[in-house]
Symmetry: D2
Amino acid sequence: MIKVGIIGVTGYTGMELVRILLGHSGIQLTYASSRSWAGQGIGDAIPHLGDVSDLVLSSFDAADASGKAEFFFVCLPHGESMETVGLLRQAGSKVVDLSADFRLTDPAGYKQWYGTHTRTDLLREAVYGMPELYRQQILAADLVANPGCYPTSVILGLAPLLAKGIVDPGTIVIDSKSGVSGAGREPGPGFHFPETFGNFSAYNIAGQHRHTGEMEQELTKLAGTDVRITFSPHLLPVSRGILSTIYVRPALDLNDNKLLALYAEFYRGEPFVRLSGPDGVLPSLKDVRGTNLCCIGPRLDKRTETIVIVSCIDNLVKGASGQAVQNMNLMMGLPETTGIEQTALHP
Amino acid sequence: MIKVGIIGVTGYTGMELVRILLGHSGIQLTYASSRSWAGQGIGDAIPHLGDVSDLVLSSFDAADASGKAEFFFVCLPHGESMETVGLLRQAGSKVVDLSADFRLTDPAGYKQWYGTHTRTDLLREAVYGMPELYRQQILAADLVANPGCYPTSVILGLAPLLAKGIVDPGTIVIDSKSGVSGAGREPGPGFHFPETFGNFSAYNIAGQHRHTGEMEQELTKLAGTDVRITFSPHLLPVSRGILSTIYVRPALDLNDNKLLALYAEFYRGEPFVRLSGPDGVLPSLKDVRGTNLCCIGPRLDKRTETIVIVSCIDNLVKGASGQAVQNMNLMMGLPETTGIEQTALHP
Amino acid sequence: MIKVGIIGVTGYTGMELVRILLGHSGIQLTYASSRSWAGQGIGDAIPHLGDVSDLVLSSFDAADASGKAEFFFVCLPHGESMETVGLLRQAGSKVVDLSADFRLTDPAGYKQWYGTHTRTDLLREAVYGMPELYRQQILAADLVANPGCYPTSVILGLAPLLAKGIVDPGTIVIDSKSGVSGAGREPGPGFHFPETFGNFSAYNIAGQHRHTGEMEQELTKLAGTDVRITFSPHLLPVSRGILSTIYVRPALDLNDNKLLALYAEFYRGEPFVRLSGPDGVLPSLKDVRGTNLCCIGPRLDKRTETIVIVSCIDNLVKGASGQAVQNMNLMMGLPETTGIEQTALHP
Amino acid sequence: MIKVGIIGVTGYTGMELVRILLGHSGIQLTYASSRSWAGQGIGDAIPHLGDVSDLVLSSFDAADASGKAEFFFVCLPHGESMETVGLLRQAGSKVVDLSADFRLTDPAGYKQWYGTHTRTDLLREAVYGMPELYRQQILAADLVANPGCYPTSVILGLAPLLAKGIVDPGTIVIDSKSGVSGAGREPGPGFHFPETFGNFSAYNIAGQHRHTGEMEQELTKLAGTDVRITFSPHLLPVSRGILSTIYVRPALDLNDNKLLALYAEFYRGEPFVRLSGPDGVLPSLKDVRGTNLCCIGPRLDKRTETIVIVSCIDNLVKGASGQAVQNMNLMMGLPETTGIEQTALHP
């Protein structure tokens, strides 16, 4: 049994890790920290857990933590996470960091979107934790930067097209819609129930959203040429789920079946990517709720010669904690799908 | 007092007309028909009305109807509507038709998207009922084709740019999200509450949606050149509201303030268009719920030289029955805003 | 035109007053105050209003306020409200107070549920603002205490039975369910969207909720004998609406038709009470959304000799701002229904 | 590996069984039938399953079914279920029936609430499948009648009080609220999304709901004396979950701690009952979503000498398919909690 710890357990990604790890047969959750809830039971901080675990939350201390677990998930806000990750790495622990701190390989990019990076020494060892693209590197990694939620839906939705070089990288429009849990557990006027219920809104459009840098980095790597995206996030009045609708122009002659074949080949054998072709139903949030799946439906609009891709994930699972566990499984030599094989909770 | 009738009152657009007309100071609702509810009280067919009106629903008969009212809203399915409109016009009544039957000026276009048109003789007299574009024609019209819900949000969102010729008409991407009332009052598996609640889905993407033809017709007229759009409708798990996010490339040098000024000039004095500029909050569904407003927020993404426009309406008001009343007001010489001046119901 | 002011306009009851008053033909909104937004436009504080009014919000000052308006709605938290009301009354203005400060006639009762009352001198002149019970007093009142939201649904649901003395006052169980706007506009963990969406919970059960005292006071007056209630409030995952299900034992032989007749007689001519009898559909939230109605469906369970009453209101309209306007209309000699005659916004 | 079949797999309880059984380590799903989808893949009938299973759906035939599986869940409508259960029992298979057909031990009771029973011969062998009350009988049973959803929340909420004889059985009021999936997968006007979203309604109150008979039968057995209940079901605008608020008068002197102790003793060691006492948070739907838990919070209202019990379940899990699997585990000698140990999916 691998002993596992969570740093910052009382946010939504921490809570979701607890949900997944309590059903994971290969590990034991032996440590969890929280600034505000240190000294109290995990069920006090996360009431819906009830008495399912008697773990007492700690105030984070690297030595203490490293004594109690060998693998860590760090669920702190960006900016705070990097120092904690550094301490855990110094103590020899393997880490998946769920913040943005190690996603951007270039400190200048980090500065542009987030602020000054103070642990650039660790940037080289950090691997971008998207197993469909970087499985070999993750298997050997000690530090994995878990991808952002929007980027997971978008990069997986576009990877086959960019990797094969069959689209025009200068024309990518990404229209994403996310459930409110993506904004975190902290209440605020924009997420107050009566304000959000029955509402729908766009925010941070026209190049304002921080995930833009992360997406462009990865899409550029895939395309082998500079990629710029027009990215519009929207707030969907549901708790969970991201659906991204992606628009791109093909650089060669295509049809729906060729398009599907191309995706099928690229994702052959992938346990968590599910494709829907022209004869199937387009993916929607209900297909992924509570699962680690990314469901992708690519279609060609022949009238306008545009490829439209619908890509869905549960933002808290494949978009955060589930993908983090997938990364841990790889890093620790466990079967990749352990603990994250649930079927969607629908209805 | 103008005597007004509604043909097909028990669908959502009919119900919404009743809501608006009961508060309208210039008219009297003297007639309403329904195939299934003929002979029963309007409050039996539409229970939430209670005993607010003692109108008894009729089985439609053109002579009977024309005897009881002088102006009609026709709320029948496309294909059925055209014959009824024809009978009412023969009887000399003015009509706003809320179906798609008279929106496409070219019968070939109608055939492509809907089927064979059997009253092409009326197509010439029908005016497309978007007062912001065709107010003068509506003032003189006897038959107005009320615009579709998606088209209303999209055409108003794009009109200033296309009319001024400052965008590249070959690159328009439209990502629209609609509340479920847009699908009508008829139950079906795709609108069954447990299937839709907490879900979000795309449908009829890649050139499949019938409103595509209507939008391209009007956008082409505005641009003075052939316009093709990539249109993706989505089903939003709320009852009311459409938010369209529109992407287009500028053909000249712009900035956010120039963009806003251009919209402000185009819509100067319009009672139902509200703009939000770079210093304001982007419009969202809560701004328009229960109102006849179209709220538009245009923004320039300088990183990618793309204009992103967010355009919001209540699909049942400005997207259907409210705009229909606005058209009636114009056609009957009433002040344009009578009966449709409500403030948004929020929260 | 009567000049009207709102003290504390930026909470949900203030916002709802603005919505109603902007469509009210007999008054003009000439003053509105807000501690946090003083000096800014009303559309800045309440963004969905847009530019519909150019009123600038004031920092409250009694002299200033009284110079600008002759009638006031006070929308402050309980405890704060009483002093402000006192100042406005001293300045000679008529007031509807939407807080709990003047609802309890006995200062000891106020102390038990809220705290010390510092303006007991005004308690005698305050009239409990439920027109169906106290219309004559309200017509003559200078200060009206607007009823609480839960109490409105419950007292109207029970009044005919208690007034006629045909129920056992010792056995009343009240199970109420309220939309989240009842908790106000201030964000908090319990009203954070992801916590509330898809959830349903009871709170303050077993005699903890402050509205208990207000309900017992009024029910006791109606019954002419001491009434105690078991009251359970619940948080419903919707924005608006209260539905109370009330259980009481009849003290004499009844049937469904007698029961309905009794309610019909009690509420004869009431513009805002709508009854549904055994042949009708039970009232639900959709019947009252955006309206000043209280919809009541009383039924007899013959198996257990229990009367079950379903009573519905929009908590922000009949449960707060709509009833406040109804009271103002009475106090100022306007037709009672002016400005609050809207049909329900459904769907 | 035990081979398991599902009869009528395409309704919500069948779908939920599939979700649970796909993660169950002790069984294999080898058979599933559906009238409408026979011959097609399970993923065609239940699209969100995707390609997770290659099971092809059968048209039900008892011999065929019995050859392919040894244990069956029957998910047919009441009235239809009894004959199918009879055929499976004749073929020697063990069965959990999720319909109402074998819940009522008295055919006269069945006739009163449902219709004529045609397999009364099987009524004697059927055990009411609530393990907390009938575990020993279930261990030995060949046919288990799985409890209804409302009854599960209500009976577990009341059992300790009635079994100990410390309440007045003549005064029980039950106010239950259920998510819409309880109404099944068949669309209808009352469950059409725009009708239900943001709405809340009571239905079948005053002794009309069929579950009344089932509850009274079990409560009577527990109390050892005739119990009659006033039961009011409500439709909650969420997909999943039941919360019942139950009112009963104590027959002896109690306080909150004694009350909790009594429940704790009654449910000692029960894996799926979770209690919350006066120092805890009342249970709500988010505590049980996707789990087999019944969360119960009993409280004493000292003002009115009334016990108020809040009892929550996921209607599709503990209220249907999860409890069915719990019963199967017992009947087949598997650990009782196998496959149903999930933590709540929250948010």
